[in-house]
Symmetry: C2
Subunit: 335 residues, 2 copies
Amino acid sequence: MKLATLKDGSRDGQLAVVSRDLATAHYATGIAAKMQQVLDDWGFISPQLQDLYDTLNQGKARHAFPFDPAQCMAPLPRAYQWADGSAFINHVELVRAARNSEVPKSFYEDPLMYQGGSDDFLGPTDDAFFLTEDWGIDFEAEVAVVTGDVKMGATPDQALEGVRLVMLANDWSLRNLIPNELAKGFGFFQSKPATAFSPVAVTPDELGDAWQGGRVHLTLQSSWNGRKVGMCDAGPEMTFSFGQLIAHIAKTRNVRAGSIVGSGTVSNKGVDNGSGKTEWPKGYSCIAEKRAIETIQDGKPSTEFMKFGDTIKLEMKGKDGQSVFGTIEQKVAKP
Amino acid sequence: MKLATLKDGSRDGQLAVVSRDLATAHYATGIAAKMQQVLDDWGFISPQLQDLYDTLNQGKARHAFPFDPAQCMAPLPRAYQWADGSAFINHVELVRAARNSEVPKSFYEDPLMYQGGSDDFLGPTDDAFFLTEDWGIDFEAEVAVVTGDVKMGATPDQALEGVRLVMLANDWSLRNLIPNELAKGFGFFQSKPATAFSPVAVTPDELGDAWQGGRVHLTLQSSWNGRKVGMCDAGPEMTFSFGQLIAHIAKTRNVRAGSIVGSGTVSNKGVDNGSGKTEWPKGYSCIAEKRAIETIQDGKPSTEFMKFGDTIKLEMKGKDGQSVFGTIEQKVAKP
């Protein structure tokens, strides 16, 4: 099923079920008011939502209305955890190659992950506000899952059982703040402002056999100012599965319902273009990668980061060609 | 006023008002059921809680019952943000001196801060479970505040206005996991398991003139296995005020109601004992500092980290000698 949270002026919005084709929606009134409630009591509440979803898809829901992504908050407008991995090791390889730094061997066995702020997420069409362009504004197209409760010490297989919902994320990054921040040794903080999520979050069964091995085997499309810049496959090159990422969190603590876990920038390897030169035919899911490629090829980056007024659009289509999660479509704005 | 969250089998517990002397409590039934609700709507709800608090202190509350810290969850059993500073630069100096590493100048102007997991906090008397002692189990005695909404770009003065509640924290740390984790460059993650908080959270006015300049000018007492090891002043040596810490978070994003912000390990400078040798008369608020001091003095640490069965007790008394927040009293346990 597909779930969304609609704006109603409150902090947590109003839970709605959305039809498979994203055409209609229906408030979950009488079942659950808020998304976190569903995650807190998944076994009891989700079958009721599934019934409503089936009725809605059959066109028989009584109070259905047209679904408008512009009315969406993030599926979880605020969450108790947002842990973002960097599971596409190609992203790390690219960024490191651009600064002549090798990827440590351990990075292929032990996921990189940072804890993000989760008190103030952005809806899929909300403007992203930044005080200045000088911070190096960049998008990051990602896949994310929402978990149920996962016990401390869970194996990747056990952790994968905890996946309740899948969605897309735009993990806004402030590239020019990153070097100083990482040099301090405590990881990202100011360089990771509010993250945006797709209009709907879907249960893994909606992905059919594209959900395999704890990965989403579909293409994540990124369009920057209307130009398609990324068509990256989110499946096979994801070095660590969502099961492994969740197990990484659960090594020393319990993971509680409503935790959001991200894949990191979806990134595909370059290929030899036949004349011995590497090309990246799938494009990029963040500008930092484009700049890394330029640096590797030309010695320095030529593409600038985003400016006020720039737009970014992220979408993923299913094997039937239909949008799975709806589109994230944001504008970079000055407050 | 003083607020607590009592265990009732639910994830968020039941909100209660606690008398100034911590002797009696009263459910906030009819006013608010959960702590987060109060923070979401502080202006409307807090005066009603204050009225109940006044009645309770006068011994006139109808359904008062004896307050039992063992029935407490963390005041916010789960939160949308837990951002922990390292505001006592002496702590950083000590730890760095032990490994012959200088503190960068910028550390005196730009706070160190990490984003912690906030989906699964521990109550003040909950056992702290760890899968193995080998991880280097350590306590960290801290002061923490809970905020209301603070806008992106807020100054430290504006940010300080956003402080709603003050409490104590035991920011459990797994020291032996830290070096590898920091070497990866993304900051703490597995090395920071679930954090515990004091039985009650109090409004700043409860601290009287001990709340000054965004700091709590009182002594934080730490007792390890019944032995008093720390009597550190949480006031003057806090390099960055809570206003500065909150403003640090708000530089690139909004800070939303219910965010918890920590001081980092409360730490006081060593003093010359008269014969040219440095002593630390105030003791330590985490074992890592004790080991740093031993390393500076003897070339290597001799105190071991915590073992299963060890206990830690954290408490802060007001100028009247009464416990302000109640005591955190935890045992290290194997699941």
